[in-house]
Subunit: 435 residues, 2 copies
């Protein structure tokens, strides 16, 4: 990546002076209160080990649209912030497991995704540099003995088969005291991960086997409400509205009525807020599988009627998610425009913010040249250029302009932390339900 | 500072392949064991809030020569590592005082030291950026109402008079829940700081009123011994030998015999190690006030006889320390050559490493153009050019050469952490003595 890329930031196509700018001004003015509030929150719930939060910045609204607790994409972060990642990992692991020095990563089951392996290699390197011995143990059925995976310029990863010895998860000659899961377990929790004695981070209750986007955004909505009160903000400016249905089946049409009714109500609610804020854009809604990731089982609609007129291809596409898992629950989420763009050809740019523990350690933009502002920027097979954040998210500077890079990144970090806090509350609620 | 300065590192004038290089190789090879060892150490003692450690790199030896628990010089750190400082401060303060949001800094009593005010401003800014409201309360007698101090390019600091309200230390309309002391209290602990209810960091037992360099280096020697065993190293390679006397008085000659005898023994011990390692240099010894800082009351000697032949000027200079405090105890410390140099004119360069809590957050070199390798580089009125460390101290990279910058900085960080660990044990011992 060219140096000049690292030192510039996408800009908003909307005129300055809108609600997001006002919000960012509030963030700077109330930074001390905001940080004290977060500290208070983290006294009551533990942050997930790591998380990445997809944000969208519409100028009139800055909100999370997805929160990933098994993040990939570490390779897209600015190498200049490696020290920050290392320090955060040191704090995070020391807390969970003070005397640990052997860590095992359980990766996704991809066999040929070069980008994923780059991320996995970066993650391994961060934890290694933090002072832990790190090995990678996979439950891929085709990995029955250690294999080497090449990625990037001569870089190699060693994947080893996971072994269960009584209640210990190990790889050969390596008994870790901590397991870090980097597999979102969309296809369910494999037998080998059950009843493991070592701590697994994040806990398996937070995998897509248990989690739903609905519960995440319900928690987020509550948290954003409280946060908005603190800094005297309309919570809608940071919250995507959402609704959900019981069981749906796009192939058979089951749950169709409920979907249409909810979409109707959601469009109405968005329209009201658009009127209130004098926003001229057309509302849109995103329909997503309620559990799962990788942008599969996702579509944008401009009206509730579109849900009725789906063609067969669309119905098929909305019926299966990652790993071929059937979709039976969806969330209807207010679509948030991306008005940030990058370069001469005004490519759409969507920020992704990374946290380790409760520390914001960096992020990058997904820059996509052939997509519109309403489309999902994280879709299968989709090409994007990563553009690393040029500066950290923890150095707001009230003496500079509100739209200066460190202040814009600080705002991203605040919203991302609200989403991560919501995930921590999900875990809390799920743990309670398990008891 | 020019960009190229930030991306280069002083180099050693000694040939590569010496003991320090071998040591650095061990550091890289045993990085996981080293980090696990430090984690284990920090389970038993709390790190000081912050510290700076003066190191000297002789090529055959890399050792601390002074450990400051009330560090100045924050302005000399690389601004690129501000995020690392911010994150470390967040962890440190959150731990001591989880719900705190008002922090008071008690500064040195300087009234005209522009460099000190730059450091103080930087420190205030780091804590502010970490999300705490920070004010500066001084016990300078001439500050009876708030004053503004200008420093650097239009930057200003506000100093307010410290007020004691019952057992609370405050400044007007500002009741802090945490006091950070940036005054080493060489002249004693002022009445206003006694019996304060809020936590004071570092604790006043660690001020130069109570601390001695002898106890610091005794602790350091023990710790370095254990650490050296871990990585199979001769501990002398990282430890300055030292000896001390009871009461001495350079003016009256009291304690002269003891000093000479100890100097004799110390020179002998150094000479033995020099022979063992085939070092051709001449040993030297540094005589320092046992309590105190700012490089006052310090002299280098090349032989024990020099102590007998001191002229009146030298005797006077060795009789008073910072703030005119009479010196009655001294430490005799093995002199460690500085063979790192910088630039075409081979200016002498001495690394100073900064820690916040147990995190190494950066450092800089004192680059001095008119000093020799045996002289003290931190002397009153002395001019040095600060040269910020170009990279962080927590990203060792075993795939690069041992002398690559991140690996050299990692080695500095390891030694500095040993010194900070020694300071933590000093505190532990002092606390025990107080009970």
């Amino acid at each position: 990546m060219a140096i000049e890329h690292l030192h510039t930031v996408p800009h908003l196509t909307v005129a300055p002076g809108g609600p997001v700018l006002a919000m960012e001004q509030q963030f700077l003015a109330k930074q001390i209160e905001i940080e004290a509030w977060f500290r208070e929150q983290w006294r009551h719930v533990s942050p997930p080990f790591y998380s990445s939060v997809d944000l969208r910045n519409a100028g009139f609204k800055l909100a999370p649209v997805d929160t990933n607790l098994f993040p990939a994409g570490f390779n897209n972060l600015n190498p200049a912030f490696m020290p920050l990642c290392v320090q955060a990992v040191q704090t995070a692991i020391e807390k969970y497991c003070p005397s640990a020095c052997r860590v095992l990563i359980v990766p996704e089951n991809h066999s040929r995704n070069k980008f994923y392996f780059e991320s996995l290699g970066t993650l391994q390197n961060i934890i290694l540099t933090a002072g832990y011995d790190v090995r990678i143990g996979t439950f891929r059925e085709d990995v029955t003995e250690p294999i080497e995976v090449e990625y990037g310029a001569g870089k190699k990863l060693r994947l080893e088969p996971l072994i269960k010895e009584k209640d210990q998860l190990i790889v050969e000659n390596f008994n870790p005291c901590l397991i870090i899961c980097n597999n979102d377990l969309s296809s369910g929790i494999p037998e080998i991960l059950n009843d493991v004695k070592q701590p697994i981070l994040p806990p398996l209750t937070l995998s897509w086997t248990h989690r739903t986007k609905t519960s995440h955004f319900s928690q987020y909505t509550e948290i954003a409400q409280k946060f908005a009160e603190l800094i005297d903000l309309d919570p809608w400016v940071i919250t995507p509205l959402h609704r959900n249905c019981g069981t749906v089946n796009f192939k058979t049409g089951e749950g169709q009525d409920c979907l249409t009714k909810n979409a109707d109500a959601l469009f109405k609610a968005i329209r009201e807020k658009y009127q209130q804020f004098a926003i001229k854009e057309e509302p849109f809604v995103v329909v997503k599988a309620d559990s799962g990731t990788y942008g599969m089982g996702v579509m944008s609609i401009q009206s509730p009627e579109e849900l009725i007129k789906l063609n067969r291809k669309q119905r098929t596409r909305m019926s299966t998610s990652k790993d071929g898992i059937a979709i039976s629950k969806v969330i209807l989420q207010e679509g948030v425009y991306t008005f940030e763009n990058w370069g001469d050809d005004h490519a759409v740019a969507e920020p992704v913010v990374y946290l380790i523990d409760h520390y914001v350690v960096g992020g990058f933009y997904r820059v996509h040249k052939n997509r519109s502002a309403t489309e999902n920027l994280n879709a299968p097979g989709m090409h994007f250029e990563p553009l690393a954040f040029a500066e950290s998210c923890n150095t707001p500077d009230p003496e500079r302009s509100v739209s200066a890079a460190p202040n814009q990144f600080y705002a991203y970090g605040v919203i991302a932390r609200l989403a991560t806090l919501a995930a921590a509350h999900e875990q809390f609620a799920l743990d309670r339900n398990q008891v």
